[in-house]
């Protein structure tokens, strides 16, 4: 079957019970998406399906056919995405394991709500657990990214 990932099309073996997380990591070598709890409880495996955040560990690869899949590898296009810039500038990355999922949830949040209040940010990231940072810098980074995105795009 064919999966559309980060703007490209990839042919992968269609096996009923394989999750999108397994196929992304093992077939496509896109290891930016992490396996945390494998049960939809931590958000480390967050990817976007047609722009909507989902837990890739709970999506069958066959159900992702015909959808646009975005992983963390799809955010930069030669340069870092403003959300990535903001995370780096605010020191919002420690061990980095939650970061890909956080970035994608943030991207989805800001696409839906370009000027989120702190409560909106926290709610938008409520499906992504971080064991290192205490979330403060992550929230700051999302606010910073929102400002950058409102301020005229990526240049």
């Amino acid at each position: 079957m064919t999966l559309r990932v980060n703007g490209g099309a990839y042919r992968v073996r269609a096996e009923a019970a394989r999750t999108l997380l397994e196929v992304l990591r093992e077939d496509l070598g896109l290891t930016g998406t992490k396996c945390g709890c494998d049960e939809g409880d931590c958000g480390a495996c967050t990817v976007l399906l047609d722009g909507e955040p989902v837990n890739a560990c709970l999506v069958l690869a066959v159900h992702a056919q015909g959808r646009e899949i975005t992983t963390v590898e799809g955010l930069a296009d030669g340069r870092w995405h403003p959300v990535q810039e903001a995370f780096a500038a605010e020191g919002a990355v420690q061990c980095g394991f939650c970061t890909p999922g956080m970035l994608l949830s943030a991207v989805a949040l800001l696409a839906r709500n370009p000027d989120p209040a702190e409560e909106d940010i926290r709610r938008g990231l409520s499906g992504n657990l971080c064991r290192c940072t205490g979330y403060v810098r992550i929230v700051r980074a999302v606010r910073r990214a929102a400002q950058a995105l409102r301020g005229g795009g990526r240049d």
């Binding site: 939809g40 909507e52 837990n55 938008g124």
Partner: protein, 290 residues
């Protein structure tokens, strides 16, 4: 996980597969409960009957004056943000918005939530308070079941072999009806309710009418608290009435102690949430997200 994925193209075909394979198959909706059960080996089945290959099960259709029809595969995310649901069936929007996380809400479905029949299912108290009726279809044809009669026990929905939920039907509420759902948990997301309370009613002059109160996570099934609702009915929801209703609600539930909370705490919280729900509808308390 290991299973064969069967992909029927019609509901009768799906029913037929479920009947044919019996205990060796389960229907698949959003997968947010089923996959967790399979991955943790709480459930072992060799076949899943994929309902997502059947077209037309994810529609929301509002018929003004009649009611709202919700397909079983409609996600919590869509119900939480749908304008008609938010305005006229607010408790349902609030309940769906409280499920899991943004990621889980984009996958999990209302049909799956009901048929998984957890005592703590968030959509259930809201749908009970709003008078939901389920339209089922199976090998013996179609039938309607009031949601209040659908839960037979933890994890036991009233579905005959091969029966599936075709739609969730919510009748048009009487003008002026307001509703809300309060969920108590140890944290604000990714949590199974410790106690859930849904209240629907409408104000007529100084009194409240058509009061319906439903409780979740405090009994083997979600349930309507009729005695508590009777204490609210026709009153002004002042302090004494709310205290009587809270006491009645606490008496109508039968919670257990588990890793999330003790039975005594849950019973107490049912009373607290009942009062809070009433005050929220009466405009005396901040709404969700405040």
């Amino acid at each position: 996980m290991r299973f064969e994925l069967l992909r029927p193209e019609t509901l009768p075909e799906a029913s037929g597969l479920l009947v044919r394979y019996g205990e060796e198959a389960r229907p698949l909706a959003g997968g947010t409960d089923l996959f967790v059960q399979l991955k943790t080996r709480r459930l072992r089945v060799p076949r899943l009957v994929d309902l997502r290959s059947v077209p037309g099960l994810a529609e929301i259709t509002y018929r003004p004056g009649e009611g709202l029809q919700i397909g079983p595969l409609v996600t919590h995310a869509r119900l939480a943000t749908h304008q008609v649901v938010r305005e006229k069936f607010t408790a349902l929007a609030e309940a769906c918005a409280s499920v899991g996380s943004p990621q889980v809400r984009n996958l999990g479905t209302v049909g799956g939530n009901l048929c998984n029949a957890s005592p703590a299912a968030d959509s259930a108290p809201a749908l009970l308070a709003l008078g939901a009726v389920l339209r089922l279809c199976g090998p013996r044809g179609e039938r309607e079941v009031p949601l209040a009669a659908f839960f037979q026990g933890p994890g036991r929905p009233a579905l005959a072999a091969g029966e599936l939920v075709r739609a969730v039907w919510l009748p048009e509420p009487a003008p002026g009806t307001v509703s809300t759902y309060l969920k108590l948990g140890r944290r604000q997301a990714l949590e199974i309710a410790v106690a859930g309370v849904a209240l629907a009613a409408r104000r007529v002059a100084d009194t409240w009418r058509d009061c319906r109160l439903a409780l979740g996570a405090v009994a083997p099934t979600p349930l309507l608290a009729g005695r508590a609702a009777a204490e609210l009915e026709g009153t002004d929801w002042g302090g004494p009435a709310l205290r009587r209703a809270a006491q009645a609600a606490a008496g109508e539930c039968s919670p257990i102690s588990d890793q999330r909370a003790s039975a005594a705490y849950r019973r107490d919280m049912v009373g607290v949430l009942t009062v809070r729900a009433a005050n929220r509808l009466a405009g005396k308390e901040a709404g969700p997200g405040a």
